[in-house]
Symmetry: C2
Subunit: 93 residues, 2 copies
């Protein structure tokens, strides 16, 4: 009915989720650069926890109809791909 308002809240929701995904990527980059031990269990645990937190946020936004399920899934898949790339690059050093 009021597309401007609706779109704005949806855009905000997506932007927040995107920013949170970028934060996780950044966190992992810093860990890899400084610790260079991606096989460390603590690293895995931090990553799992962060990914779980983000997936809950995305799920919540989808249930509120602020973000399309497809877009939420893509956001998570992209992050996973980026993380895998980082991981692989760190192991080739």
């Amino acid at each position: 009915m009021i597309p401007e308002v609706a779109v704005s809240k949806e855009e905000q929701a997506y932007a927040l989720l995107k920013a949170d995904a970028d934060k996780i990527l950044q966190l992992i980059k810093v860990q890899i650069d400084n610790l260079t031990m991606p096989q460390c269990p603590l690293y895995e645990e931090v990553l799992d926890t962060q990914m779980f937190g983000l997936s809950r946020e995305i799920d919540f936004a989808v249930r509120l109809n602020l973000v399309r399920e497809e877009d939420g899934k893509k956001l998570l898949d992209n992050l996973e791909r980026e993380l895998n790339k980082l991981h692989e690059a760190s192991q080739k050093r």
Copy 2:
């Protein structure tokens, strides 16, 4: 500007969070009733994970201005109080 729309989204957000909190409480009730081992590390881990997930959802809703920070905090505090009650009751058996 359009209070009906705005309030409705906020109400939806709060109702979703409340339902998620109730789900955690229910999960823990079932665990206590059936396993009767709240000192089990797995129980603690499940609870921690669920509480973390809910806190991320609440934080997200607050950042989106869908839920007041105060209300989000209360929701989490109430859940923790209820869980403590359950925990204490299970230990007195």
